[in-house]
Amino acid sequence: MYETTCECVSPQEQRLYDAIAGREDRFRKSHSRVFRLLERFEGQKPRIDIERALYFTQSMRETEGQPLVLRWARALRHIAQNITVYVQEDQLLLGRAGCDGRYGILYPELDGDFLDIAVRELPARATSPAVITPEDAKRVVEEIAPYWKGKTYHEALNAALPPEVHKLTYDDPQGLISRFIVNETSSFRSSIQWVHDYEKILKRGFNGIKREAEEKLAALDPLSPKDICEKKPFLEAVVIVCDAIVLWAGRHAVLARKMAAKETDPARRAELLRMAENAEHVPGEPARDFHEACQSQWFTQMFSRLEQKTGTTISNGRMDQYFYPYYKQGISNGSLTDGQAIELLECMWVGMAEFIDMYISPTGGAFNEGYAHWEAVTVGGQTPDGRDAANDLTHLILKSKREFPLHYPDLAARIHSRAPERYLWDVAETIKYGSGFPKLINDEEVVPLYVSKGATFEEALDYAVSGCTEARMPNRDTYTSGGAYVNFAAAVEMVLRNGRMKKYGDLVLGVETGDPRDFQTWDEFWNAYVQQHILFLKTAFVQQHIIIALRARHFAQPMGSAMHDLCMKHCIDLHQPRIPDGIDLGYFEYIGLGTVVDSLAAVKKLVFEEKKLTMAQLVAAIDADFEGHEDVRALLRSAPCYGNNDSHADAIGRAIDKISLEYANKYSMKDLGMHNDVRYVPFTSHVPFGKVVSATPNGRAEWFPLSDGTSASHGADVNGPTAVMLSNYNTKNMGMRDRAARMVNIKFTPKCLEGDQGTEKLVSFIRTFCDLKLWHVQFNVISRDTLLAAQKDPQKYRNLIVRIAGYSAYFVDLSPDLQNDLIARTEHGVL
C-alpha cells in the first residue's frame, strides 16, 4: 500500500489561495455584473431595516378586533403602499424587503415583547450579530415594541405551558432563556419551512387568483353564518393581498422609468425600461418570457418574506422545472442565451444573499449560527409521472453553483434510482467544488414515505425540498408549527443523576429513576433511560398541542394561502390547524443520537457485559469530568460507537428510534391531528445543547457539543464514510411511517475525490446512498489545514464557505465553538 502525498485542494480552496495571492478570479470575466453587485456588500455586517416592522405595527394597531386574516392582508397592503422601493445599480431584477446591502427585517408579532432588549444586544452578540442605527433602535423601542407587549405569540405560549412542561422548556419565568432540554422553536418562527407553488403565479398571475377569489365571493351563501364569518373575510383578504403585491410591483415600475429617463448610458437605460415593463406586467399577469418569469417569482418570494417569518425563508421550489418552459422558449426562438439565463438567475442569487433571515431571540441565534438560510432551490428528481426530470436548466443551475462565488442559494439535488449518469456527474463535480452544495435528498425514501402518509404518487413525486432537509408538496402540505428540539443526551445525564442535571443543581427535572449504582442489570439502566425519554416525548407533544391552538390565533398568511389549492378551495387560512384534505407534516427533533447511543453502548458493554468498570467508577469519573480518571475515559471511548456499522451500537440506536416512532405513532394523529414525526436535524443546536449537558459515558467532556444529526460523535467514526452511511441505515425502523428527515454530514479531503476517478467513486457513493434509502446527505470537501488556517487568519479567509447543517455559511461568521465542532468532525481521506 503506497500513498501519493502530493497536495490536493478543492476548487474553492484554490479560489481562496488565488484571492490571497491577488490573482483575478477566473470566473470574474464571464460574470462581471454579479461580481460588481457582490463587491458592494461583501464582508458587511447585516443591517436591521425596521420599515416592515414599523408599517406592520402601524396597521395592526388600526385593525384590532377584525378577523386576523383580514388584518394581515391590510397590514401587507399598508406595507406595499409605504415601504421604500429600490432599483439597484446593475441589478436586472426588482424587489427587496429592505435597504441596500446585507440586511435583515423584523417580525414583532413573534418577538416584539423583547425586541427592545434584543436590538440593544444584537450588535455585540457572538452568534450572527447585526447593526442598527441609533434612530432606528429608538423607533423600535418607542414605536414598535410597546404595542406588542402582552400581545405576542411568545408571551401567550409562555403563559400557557403547564409548570411541568415549562420547567423543561424555559429556564426563567418570562420564557426568554431556554432550558435547552425540550426546546420549543415555535416562538422564533411562525411556521416550519414552506415552499410556494410558484408555477401557479407564473401561469395565472395574482390577477388570476384574485378573479378566482372574487368569483367565490360572489358565490357565497349570503345567509350562511359560516360563509359570512369565515369564508368572506378569507376571500376578501386574498383580494387585498393580490392587489397589494401588484401595487408594490407597480411602484417599482414607476421608479425604474424615472431612473431610465435620467440614465445617460443607453445600455443601462434599455435595461431599466425592460425592468419597468416587466414590473408593469408581472406578477399580476402570467409571465411571457424567462426574464418576466424570474421577475414574477422574485416579487412573489420577496413579498412573502414581508408577509411572514417561517422556519426558514420560504424556499424556491423546483426551479429547474417551473422555469424550464420559459427557458426553452427563449433558447429556441433565439431571444435568450445561456449566458443571459445564468445572469438573471445570479441576479436572483445576489438578492437572496443580501437578505438575512434574522433570529432576534438568543435561542434562535444560537440555533442558526452564521446567518443560516435555507431558500433551497431544488433541481433534478422525477416528474409527477415518475420520469427523470433533469433538463438543460438543471445543468445550468449546477454550473452557476460552481462559478458563482457565494453560498446562495442553498441548492438541493433530488436523487432517484434511475438518475442519469450525466446528472450525477454534474452533481458530484459540484460537490467537489467544496462549498457544500448541493445537498442530496433521496426520492427513494421521501416518495414512498409521503404516499404512506396520505399523498398521491403524483404529489409525492413532485415534492420540492424545503428548508434544511424537508420535502414539501405545495398544494397538499399545510402549515405546521415549529416543533420541539429535544436534548436526549440530557436524558442520559438524568439517569446518572436520578432525574437531575449538574448544570441545574438539585432541581428535579426528569424522572427520579433511582441511584444508578443500585442497578444490577442492563435492563434496569435501559428502563431508566426509557422513562426519561418518554417524559421528554410527552413534554414535546404537550407543547405541540398547546402550540397548535395558539398559533392559529396569532398568525395568518393570506398571500401564502392564496397560492394554495386547498386553502382556496375551503377558504381557510394556511395557519389554521385543520384544513380538509391537508397533510400536516410536522416533526420534533432528536438531538444527540451519536452521543446517546455511544453512551448507552459503553455502559452496556463495559459495566454490564464485560464488567471492566463498575457503575460507581463510572459515576465518579463523570462527576469529576474525567479529571483524575483518564483511564476510565479512554476505556469508555474504546467502546463500540455509532457510525462504525457496529451491530452492538447500532442495535441500541434502532431501539431508541423505535421508542420515539411508537410514541409518535400513538399520539400524533389521534391527539394532535398532525404527523409529529421523528427527525434528526440539529441546525446548530447541538452546540448550545451540549453546553447544558455534563460529561457523558461516551467519554465526552462536559459542556462539549453533542453529536450532530445522524452523524457520528466527533472522531468516533473510524471505519470510513461507508460505515457512517450503514450505521444510519441500521438505526432506521424501515417498517414504520412516522419517521422524517435524517441529516448526515460527510467530510472528505479533496485528495479523496481527485480527478475523474474520484468523481466516479463519488457518483457510486451517491448511488449507494440512494440504494440505502437514506433521506439526506451533504458533503464538506476541504482539508483540515485550510480550516485551521482560516481560524487563525479570518481576514484572509473571509470567503471560505463550509457546510453546517443543511446550509452553508462563511466559516469566519461562525462562533469559535462551532468552528471547532466542524474541525473535529472526522475527515475521510485517502486510506
Partner: protein
C-alpha cells in the same frame, strides 16, 4: 476444497480497511495479511513484514503511568519498564511467546497487537458489510499485506470463498511467490496490482533482500497465461534507488510487450516512519525524501514508452477478433 473447509481456515491478519479508493477499481475493502518475504528498506508498513503477532507501543496515546497502570497490572514478565517521563519502554526480549494481555488491558489503544489469527468467515463478515457500495462501484475485496501470497493456503481459501460469494477480488503483490501458487491464485482474481521495483537484479537484492528473477517470471506468467486478467504494474519511486529515467524506462520497456498491462508510479512517502518507532525499530531510510519535481519527468518517460505500444497496437486486427 469445499466452502465449509475454506471458511474455517485461519490466517494472520493485521488490518481490514474500508472505503479504499486507490487500490483497484471502485470502492474496496482491503484485508492486510501479515508477513512478507522481502524486506524493502522503504517499506511503509513495517508492521506487515514479520509473520507473527507483534506488540506495538504508541507513546502519543499513552495516558502515562501517572494516570493509568492497567498494563502493568497484567504483565507477568516484567516486560514493561517505566521511563522517566512515566511512559513505557518494552523489554521485548521478555515478550517472546507471550499472548500480550497488556494490549487488551490498555484502554487508550496505546499498546496494541499487530496481527491476529482470523478465520476466512470472520474476515469476510467484515468485507460483506460494504457490499452495497461494491455493487454500485464495481468494487470489492483487495488482499494486501505484507505479501498476500506469503500465507498461500489462507489466501487461496479466502479468495475462493470470496468468489463463491460473488465478490470481485484483487491482490496487491510484490510478486515473490512460487509460480505454482501464482497459477493457483490467478483464476480466483479479477484484478492484480503487481509491484515491479527495479530491473537491475543486484540492486533489487541489495535493497529488498531478494533478486528479482522469480518476480519477473511470475509477472510474465500472469501477463501471458492469464491475458483476461487486468494487471496493473506499479513502481514505488524511491530516492537513490530507482528515481532515474533509466530505471523507470527499463521497467516500462519490460511491460511494454504486454498490451493490456497498465502502469502507475507511486512517489515514496514517509507516512510509515512512526510505525517503525512503535515497534522499536529504526526506519532504514532515515530522513531521505523524494524530490517531487522528478515525478512528472519520470511519468512522461514511462508514458512515452507505453504510448508507442498503443500506437503499435492500433494496426488492423484480423477479422476474426
Amino acid at each position: 476444497m469445499n466452502s465449509h473447509e475454506d471458511r474455517q481456515k485461519t490466517g494472520l491478519v493485521f488490518n481490514v480497511q474500508k472505503y479504499s479508493v486507490h487500490d483497484g477499481p471502485g470502492i474496496r475493502t482491503i484485508v492486510f495479511l501479515k508477513g512478507c518475504p522481502l524486506s524493502c528498506r522503504w517499506c511503509s508498513n513495517p508492521e506487515s513484514q514479520r509473520h507473527r503477532p507483534e506488540l506495538a507501543y504508541n507513546p502519543g496515546r499513552c495516558l502515562t503511568l501517572n494516570k493509568c497502570v492497567r498494563c502493568l497490572e497484567v504483565c507477568m514478565r516484567n516486560a514493561l519498564i517505566r521511563k522517566e517521563d512515566a511512559s513505557l519502554r518494552i523489554a521485548r526480549e521478555h515478550c517472546e511467546g507471550c499472548h500480550m494481555p497488556c494490549a487488551d488491558a490498555c484502554p487508550a489503544n496505546s499498546l496494541l497487537v499487530y496481527g491476529r489469527e482470523r478465520s476466512v468467515d470472520d474476515v469476510l463478515a467484515v468485507v460483506e458489510q460494504d457490499e452495497a457500495f461494491y455493487a454500485r462501484s464495481s468494487g470489492g475485496l483487495t488482499v494486501s499485506g505484507g505479501e498476500p501470497l506469503f500465507q498461500g493456503n489462507f489466501v487461496t481459501a479466502l479468495l475462493r470463498e470470496a468468489r463463491r460469494r460473488r465478490y470481485r477480488t484483487a491482490v496487491e503483490t510484490c510478486g515473490m511467490a512460487s509460480a505454482a501458487l501464482v497459477r493457483e491464485v490467478a483464476p480466483l482474481l479479477n484484478y492484480v496490482l503487481f509491484d515491479i521495483k527495479i530491473m537491475d537484479s543486484a540492486a533489487h537484492k541489495a535493497q529488498t533482500g531478494f533478486a528479482n528473477e522469480q518476480i519477473l517470471k511470475n509477472f510474465s506468467i500472469l501477463a501471458e497465461e492469464f491475458s483476461d486478467l487486468p494487471l496493473m504494474a506499479r513502481t514505488p519511486v524511491i530516492p537513490g534507488f530507482n528515481d532515474t529515467a533509466e530505471a523507470i524506462a527499463a521497467i516500462a520497456s519490460f511491460i511494454a510487450p504486454y498490451p493490456r498491462v497498465t502502469y502507475e508510479l507511486l512517489p515514496y512517502h514517509r507516512l510509515g516512519t512512526q510505525k517503525y518507532h512503535f515497534l522499536d525499530r529504526t526506519p532504514p531510510m532515515g530522513n531521505v525524501t523524494l524530490d517531487k519535481n522528478r515525478m512528472p519527468r519520470l511519468q512522461s518517460v514511462a508514458e512515452g514508452i507505453l504510448r508507442a505500444r498503443v500506437q503499435n497496437l492500433q494496426q488492423p486486427k484480423t477479422p476474426s477478433s
